[in-house]
Symmetry: C2
Subunit: 193 residues, 2 copies
DNA sequence: CGGAGTATGCATACCTGGTATGCGGACCGC
DNA sequence: GCGGTCCGCATACCAGGTATGCATACTCCG
């Protein structure tokens, strides 16, 4: 429900139409998360259906602007006043992956951890590069979004190291080959049955 | 695509049918993320459509077990060998919310930050309580999943504090009332147009 | 025994977020 | 004026996910 409230917040600034909304949304987070234009229209029509937004007559140039209603303002205020709870966050794909790797036969968990760690470190470097090569150091929202990603990436690296040491403590280092990894590259042989 | 590969990994252990798969999936992460039964069946049929899985004839008691194919094994190995990149993660709803709060008129950003911080700290306490009141200290996958959530929550608190101090540096403390917050509770007055 | 209640395996309908594509008008260059 | 291309907008469709329906089978009684 992030986009729904995001559009509402933008409309709180004043009337806007579809493309303006997309541009404003992407700009407000420094184009970190792109927003599909089709999604904007479907979300707008749902917002109108729910009475949180009202569509205005088309302008001369054909754009259909929307404005927020009082009900929409109330919903928006409620959103800002309500913390995001742990239960309504998306699944942590990395955690699931590692948990499954631990119980799947033939998987070298250590190399999964190391591969991920390398990738995350690379992302972290890219983020700090972005942070300091910025040409708009006064864009506070964008800087905070970037910081959020840095903090998350750092936590992920710490967690991966923690996994590594837990593995050393609880699992004997593997001796034999890792059967599953040999299956890569033979895809499709069975699929065409 | 997390569930897709999750089910594949479970089938790598051996043949299983729908309910077994759901139970195994939930158990492997300590029932942290529930999995809907309907999702299991739709995902299984898509996996079969894509040749990664093969359905076996119904057993006498009516269950239809599935087994992984060689193509499925290859796909699974590829998944384990490929790190999760920053770009295919879901949107960070909290970061978006705060970025929007900064540019939405009439929003008290400080109170948004504080409300979230309180909620996250509470979640953190709950997590540590869970961690130490565990009756199965040898369940390594579950412990690591729990640790992942702890690390994320800690990073979130740090980030919120960072936002707080950035706000103090860059924004003068608000003086007037916060108009938007007064709209709460009047929802619907305009909706019935 | 028989019938109500309940758990289980399975299937379907539907909602939501998202991408790809179609379409008409405005603004070019020539 | 005419073809191209960009823009604002809309539609169709797909995938992931939840809620719900629906049989069968099992249990627990009177």
């Amino acid at each position: 429900m992030s986009i729904r409230h995001g559009l509402l917040a933008l409309l709180e600034r004043g009337q806007m139409y579809g493309y303006q909304l997309r541009a404003a949304f992407e700009e407000s987070t420094g184009s970190t998360w792109p927003l599909n234009i089709g999604q904007v229209y479907t979300t707008l029509s749902r917002l109108e259906r729910d009475g949180l937004v009202r569509s205005l007559p088309e302008s001369a140039s054909g754009q259909r602007p929307y404005e927020i209603t009082d009900a929409g303002r109330a919903d928006l205020a409620l959103w800002f006043a309500t913390p995001i709870s742990r239960t309504d966050r998306p699944r942590d794909e990395l955690a699931i992956k590692l948990a499954l790797a631990l119980t799947t036969p033939g998987v070298d968990v250590r190399s999964v951890v190391q591969t991920q760690r390398t990738a995350t470190m690379r992302a972290l470097q890219e983020l700090t590069r972005l942070k300091y090569s910025s040409d708009n150091p006064d864009d506070l929202p964008w800087r905070l979004v970037l910081d959020a990603m840095v903090f998350h990436a750092e936590a992920e690296v710490r967690w991966l190291d923690h996994c590594e040491s837990s593995l050393v403590r609880h699992r004997p280092p593997a001796a034999g080959p890792t059967p599953l990894s040999e299956a890569v590259g033979h895809s499709g042989e069975e699929a065409r049955r």
